[in-house]
Amino acid sequence: MNYNWHWQVLLETEPGGTGSYLHYLIVGLGWTLATALAAWVIALAIGALIGTLRTTPLKWVVRAGNLYVEVFRNVPLIVQMFLWFFVVPELLPQALGDWIKQMPPPWGSYVPAVLCLGIFTSVRVAEQVRAGINSLPRGQRMAGIAMGLTETQTYRYVILPQAFRIILPPLTSEFMNIIKNSSVALTIGLLELTGRARAMQEFSFRVFEAFTAATVIYLLTNLIVVLAMRALERKVRVPGLIAAGGAPQAGH
């Protein structure tokens, strides 16, 4: 394969004049993380709520939760991205829709991307939360009620603290997924890491340098997330309750 590598390109100034290409990519990583973290907050909040509601004995609440999960799980992420970016502003009242459409870049792409990724991931979080709660022995819930706790207190003090510790490893992989999935936001114009690698390739014609640099940055990010989450797992572990290293991942 005859490709002439030219790594110095990373230190050359990008056309926008904000600094070197390497700096340009690092700023992209900043946007990737800013998108992923904001979306993760939404995903955890909604996911925990829906996942918990789906384990309650309330039939209609469970059905509504199932509907939410099925809708957002069965539409591809990029299509959801387009719905949030192109369709939702049109369906809102005119003034609000216009205000959204006139948000200055990059916020005009950032806000829909965060909402989209947050809700897309909340479905997966909800599934994990539900699985975590269902994996606890039934006796835990009964013991809570027998101790005189209300249903809500049982969830708050007995079930959820255990369930969240159990699902920490799968949640880690969901967090890594959200970082990777944020790259889809480039289709609605958000210049995050992958989008910037693509832009760098178009400006500089250095295809493989740009993509290799982005790949290495993603790998390093993953490494840091894995190490951080392992530390968190150790910190919140209840001695004797869950084996070191967390429960084995449910395979798929």
Binding site: V71, N74, P76, L77, I78, V79, F82, Q201, T215
Partner: protein, 229 residues
């Protein structure tokens, strides 16, 4: 919703399905077949006692699972012409259409995910089965092909199919290399007629119906398979 223009869907649906959906389905079928075959080989490598083989497969799977699919699509879109030139010994990068580029990308990318499923499947078979295979005088490949893999496939069938639904949805990302898959075809009509709301809503509904229908079928299958075991 008052201004919803159903007419544009009526005008374009034949095109959407004939050009777009056939692209999407062909790509899904090719990548599924290739991905499962390559993924099974990777899983066998990962579980092999030969250190270099298992390390190589492990590195490949972890690399593919650590970077975004969009980036992988870009990588192969530019890389495949060089690899093609290297394979046939040409001086210049060869021209590869969006379809074949996407087919190679998705096969290689999904193989990493199918590999993890098949690895779990192979590990779910008791080791005694392998030993009895050897005791009967079968070699490694015969034991794998006749004893281990058929059972592993059967145990993992629902998961493999669920992964295929994810693959079906993921193929819509070929939008980033301007391929005319179902979403790409709809985007073309949407931009030409300035009917983005109608077209993207229609696309979402079609993807939902197909994915939900298939996952319901898989759930039924799972119930049937789970009884016999």
């Amino acid at each position: 919703m008052s201004g919803f223009d159903f007419d544009v869907i009526q005008r374009s649906w034949v095109y959407l399905f004939r050009e777009g959906m056939s692209f999407t389905l062909t790509l899904t079928a090719l990548a599924m077949t290739g991905g499962i075959v390559f993924g099974t080989l990777l899983a066998m490598m990962r579980l092999s006692s030969m250190k270099p083989a298992s390390m190589l497969a492990g590195a490949y799977v972890n690399l593919m699972r650590s970077i975004p699919l969009v980036l992988v699509i870009f990588w192969f879109f530019f890389l495949v012409p060089y690899i093609g030139a290297w394979v046939i010994g040409a001086k210049e990068p060869i021209k590869v259409g969006a379809f074949w580029s996407a087919a190679i990308t998705f096969t290689l990318f999904e193989a990493a995910y199918y590999c993890e499923i098949m690895r779990a499947g192979i590990q779910s078979i008791p080791r005694g089965q392998v030993w009895s295979g050897y005791a009967l005088g079968l070699d490694y490949w015969q034991t794998m092909a006749r004893i281990v893999l058929p059972q592993a496939f059967r145990n993992m069938l629902p998961v493999l199919l669920t992964q295929t639904i994810i693959l079906f949805q993921d193929t819509s990302l070929v939008y980033v290399i301007s391929a005319t898959d179902f979403l790409g075809a709809a985007a073309k009509v949407a931009n030409r007629d300035y009917r983005l709301v109608e077209m993207y809503s229609f696309v979402a509904v079609v993807y939902f119906v197909v994915s939900y229908g298939l996952s319901t079928l898989i759930r039924r299958l799972q119930e049937r398979i789970a009884i016999i075991r």
